[in-house]
């Protein structure tokens, strides 16, 4: 293998390139129009544009990816995760093109791609499976469901990530839930097939990392616990599981290896299990790819899973270190997302103006300063991984690293992650898959700093701005800041904070640069980047960046209002602005229409969710600048309702 094409984007492309560089393998990126400026494109030796922003026009185009490999002389293809990673047709096309496919055989992918077939094959191999039933369309739904037993889950056969999944508590809601799941599955995966599966409450999600080679070796590289999920999306993953002991680990590994052997599995894969409160485990599915959360396994085993994938793909046997892995310590990964947690985990977009972490953690990210989180893809900013001797230490290091990190420019779930990592239920190891759904996102997603701490951070930001302005002054730069012979008024700065749309900070310095206002706070030092204050006898340094202030207790997003509003930017009364980034799915009215208050005007789609935009008051639609299919950003003018 001399040159590897990664048929993926973002952090996983960079992750794979990193191993390639270490091993002396050349790298090729493919990219969509939306990713043309992304770091992974710049880092690859060669890069080929695939086309439009939508996945179907770019990363899902098998012919274009294979052609890119041919054109760049790549001799191997790594699919990453998502997109074409579990697409047997793609794997076959790569192999047919005479290239090395980094992944399991197309047969294994196909077999595990159908959840119903996977269940059957696993059951046959002696792996415990939950009671469940495949729906073909002809059967009597109620009878089949009764056979599975309530509560049950309706799941998309081709699914993943919680899409097309419905929880059904009793027979009443069954038909509607199945129909909804089918619709969602059809929209998301192009396949409406769903199946029923017994639902075990208060269970955990535990998965075993498999690695197989062409020489008959299938090895389990321990389990990962991914129980901390919100709406079936993993948030925190760790290795090992806090509830799996040596005996259970042996059983899980044995079951996973059995599953792997049944498939003659090569490369990296993951067998997912549901672990009940009674410590019974059941097969859920096999993921025939590298998982998002693979770094925790790498941390604990000291192995580079991508390196193993490449070795196996080349036909080499797994090295001794992989065959007899020695676990060390505990690793936890947190997924940092651009999302508004208190608003109900709403996806966010925007520009990540700055992203920096201390070197106490591993950071896998596709983002660099100035990168845009676009609405086209998953809004993950980074995976942050801490590794320590104990789980408690790893959680502490990870929470601290996240709290102190510079994650700026867009709304993120960072403070939420810190609160989860410091949550009693998580630390005690009791958090199951419903832990987050039981919690209030407004509480768990609340800013780390309270309103008073934010006020002080805003003061620090104002004083840093002051220092910058004095440094850059063209005249009188040596004179005391804000000097007045008649000190009538204080200086002011106004910030948008997590608590306040317009927090006004007033400050006044004396001739020696001491703080006269606000009273009771001593200014030790103010530079454009750092401010040191003493408050109630405690000295604290504030790191001030353009969009945020870092404190020892956490970082807070603070954006200063411009001193003067640009009158041309003012919006007219009755304007409806887009509450989030997305696509205009349908326009329900036309310009000039009379609408009553509450009338739906248009439908936006963001992250597969549909949001109706309603008329705030009765009136005439005087402006309607958007059309079906338009991409809109937060704050884009959608319509104006006039008198």
């Amino acid at each position: 293998m001399n040159r590897l094409l990664v048929a993926n984007r973002g952090e996983i492309a960079r992750r794979i390139f990193a191993t390639c560089r270490r091993l002396g393998v050349g790298t090729v990126a493919v990219f969509s129009d939306a990713d043309a400026g992304a770091p992974f494109v710049a880092e690859a030796d060669l890069a080929v544009a695939l086309g439009g922003a939508a996945p179907a026009e770019s990363y899902l185009r098998i012919d274009a990816v294979v052609e890119a490999a041919r054109r760049t002389g790549a001799d191997a293809v790594h699919p990453g995760y998502g997109f074409l990673a579990e697409n047997a047709t793609f794997a076959q096309a790569v192999i047919d093109a005479g290239l090395t496919w980094v992944g399991p055989s197309p047969e294994a992918i196909r077999a595990m791609g159908s959840k119903t077939e996977a269940r059957e094959r696993m059951a046959a191999a002696g792996v415990p499976v939950l009671p469940g039933a495949h729906l073909t369309g002809g059967e009597d739904l109620a009878t089949v469901a009764a056979g599975v037993g309530y509560p049950l889950l309706v799941k998309a056969s081709a699914g993943g990530g919680g899409k097309g999944m419905r929880l059904v508590e009793g027979a009443d809601a069954l038909a509607a839930s199945v129909a909804a799941a089918q619709r969602e599955a059809g929209a998301a995966f192009g396949d409406e097939t769903v199946f029923l599966e017994r639902y075990a409450p208060r269970s955990r999600h535990v998965e075993v990392q498999l690695m197989g080679d062409a020489h008959g070796n299938v090895v389990a590289l321990f389990e990962r616990d991914c129980s901390v999920q919100r709406r079936h999306q993993k948030v925190i993953e760790e290795c090992p599981s806090p509830v799996v002991d040596r005996a259970l680990r042996a059983q899980l590994s044995e079951a996973a290896v059995a599953a792997g052997r049944a498939l003659a599995y090569t490369g990296a894969g993951t067998v997912e299990f549901l672990l009940t409160a009674e410590r019974e485990f059941f097969f859920l599915e096999v993921n025939t790819r590298l998982q998002v959360e693979h770094p925790v396994t790498e941390a604990v085993t000291g192995l580079d899973l991508v390196e193993l994938q490449l070795l196996v793909a080349e036909g080499s046997p797994l090295p001794a270190a992989a065959l007899d892995p020695q676990p060390r310590g505990h690793a936890i990964e947190a997924r940092l997302y651009a999302e508004d947690v208190p608003a109900g985990y709403l996806p966010a977009t925007g520009t990540v103006s700055r992203l920096r972490f201390a070197d106490t953690v591993r950071v896998d990210t596709g983002v660099s300063d100035g990168s845009e989180i676009s609405p086209h893809y998953d809004p993950m900013i980074a995976k942050v991984i801490a590794h320590a001797d104990t789980r408690e230490q790893a959680a502490r290091v990870l929470a601290d690293a996240l709290a102190r990190a510079q994650v700026q420019g867009t709304i993120t779930n960072r403070d939420f992650l810190v609160r989860v990592l410091r949550h009693r239920e998580f630390l005690s190891g009791e958090a199951d898959t419903e832990f987050l759904d039981r919690s209030d996102p407004a509480e768990l997603g609340a800013p780390l700093l309270d309103a008073e701490q934010v006020q002080r951070a805003a003061l620090a930001a104002a004083l840093a701005g002051q220092a910058a302005r004095r440094r850059d002054a063209r005249v009188q730069d040596g004179l005391p800041s804000g000097w007045r012979n008649n000190p009538a008024l204080a200086q002011t700065a106004t910030f948008t904070t997590p608590y306040d749309e317009g927090l006004e900070v007033r400050y006044r310095l004396d001739r020696d640069g001491r703080l006269l206002e606000p009273e009771g706070i001593e200014l030790v030092r103010a530079t454009p980047e750092e401010v040191v204050l003493i408050c109630e006898g405690v000295r604290r340094a504030y790191r001030v960046d353009p969009d945020a202030v870092g404190t020892p207790e956490g970082e807070v997003a603070l954006s200063e209002h411009p001193r003067f509003a640009d009158p041309s930017a003012a919006v007219s009364a009755g304007s409806l602005l887009s509450p989030m980034p997305g696509t205009v799915l349908r326009v329900l009215v036309s310009a000039g229409a009379q609408v009553p208050a509450g009338a739906p005007l248009l439908v936006l789609e963001a992250m597969k969710m549909e949001h109706e935009v309603l008329a705030p008051a009765a009136g005439t639609v005087s402006e309607l600048p958007v059309a079906q299919g338009d991409q809109v950003q937060t704050g884009t003018l959608l319509a104006v309702i006039g008198e």
Binding site: G465, Q466, R469, R470, A473, R474, V475, Q476, G478, L479, P480, S481, G482, W483, R484, N485, N486, A488, L489, Q491, A493, R511, R563, F564, A565, P567
Partner: protein, 532 residues
Amino acid sequence: MSVLRSQLDPRTPAAQAARESMLGRLAELDELLEQVNGGGGPKYVERHRKRGKLLPRERIELLIDRDAPFLELQPFMAQHADFHVGASNVTGVGVVEGVECVLGASDPTVRGGTSNPYTLCKTMRAQEIALVNRLPLINLVESGGADLPTQAEIFVPGGAIFRNLTRLSARGIPTVSLVFGNSTAGGAYLPGMSDYNVFVKGGAKVFLGGPPLVKMATGEESGDEELGGAEMHARTSGLADYLAVDERDALRLGREIVAGLNWGKLGPAPAPDPPGPLHDPEDLLSLVPPDPKVPFDPLEVLARILDGSRYDEFKPLYGTSLSTGWGSIHGYPVGVLANVRGILFSEESEKAAQFIQLANQKNTSLIFLHNTTGFMVGREYEQGGIIKDGAKMINAVSNSTVPHLSVIIGGSYGAANYAMSGRAYDPRFVFAWPNAQISVMGPAQLAGVLSIVARAGAQARGVPYDEQADKAMRTAVEAQIEAEQTALSNSSRGYDDAIIDPRDTRTALGFALSVAHNAPVRGAEAFGVFRM
């Protein structure tokens, strides 16, 4: 260049008494400033705010660069008179988009922002500062025009305001009017004579004659908006160059206008990164004895205002009651003339005349630290030509063209006030410490002189002298001069530009030097005939 040492020990009882006394004076002034800043009082301020309007100092704060210094001029104007202290306007020098500008804002909370004789005095001084230092001038207009009861004092001389605007413009000094409210009749010529005008929509009202006057004059029925509204002037008359949507927008536009002036300073730039003084300016509070008759050493002041406390004294052994020498303040080279023991003799006068010529030869600004009781009198000195020699100094001061900055740190009496570049000798700025005293002579001396003259008159007429009346007269005169010679009293009459906290002396001088360097700094090519 030698470094000044300090003998001042702020821990001594005398120093502590001096500090107490100075802090007391500052506290009195602070109290008065609160009154100044309160404008026309809570009722009128409230009414103004209810109209959604900003106060004059708020307007100024929004117009100037954030965190930049601002020198308010003559805030105590009219304190002694029957007008509101501050004289219904705010003037000052501030930095707008990196450009030092003179700002003048009428205060509509004080009698509608109308101009009385003291307002006029303040406005004229601000215009003079703009002219001599070459600073763009920005008027923040909302004024009811002339204070009618005092129209006789202001109407005729007040015409100069408008003349000055166009003269500034003719000298290449831009003038800007931001009109927030009333600017009618004569006031209409503020925007009328300005280079750039911004009118606030719904606020600016600019016409020669309002509806009643028009009705009286021509019988025409009309309304405010059509006669002088912002929109009308922006769209129809063309008097407004920019239409602001609100007050803040007007200030934003004002800043944009200045940013676009392509302004450059014509004086040399200061030396970069000048060192601060080695001695703590805080000690300046402890320097001045409460009793004005007790002298103090001005070199202690220089040690706390000059860069690195470095002072190259010129002729240190000659005419020792006036110290002359070279140093720099905030990187600007300066020559200093400081009274050491109060009296100017012939030697001091000649030394000063020579030193002022040297400063002009090398294009260097001059700082005058006043603490003088006057030129020496007496037979010996008159016969020695004290008038001739004093005249040399006054000649040199009068014809010197480098920037002069005067700081009254103690007394400034008699013709020595002139010779030390007192107000009438056009220094670029005059600053006074709170303890400053200015008058033709000291109260006791003045009363004594009057007494001696009266006694001599009585004797000549051969009538007995009324000792009782003499005593009463002396007490009355002394009290009057005591009251009139104070810093506040002089400031109230516009004889200084600001009373400053002694600790701010270096800052005020650095500010003034930076301002003065907007104009070319060039020494005189000729002086008057020196009487030899």
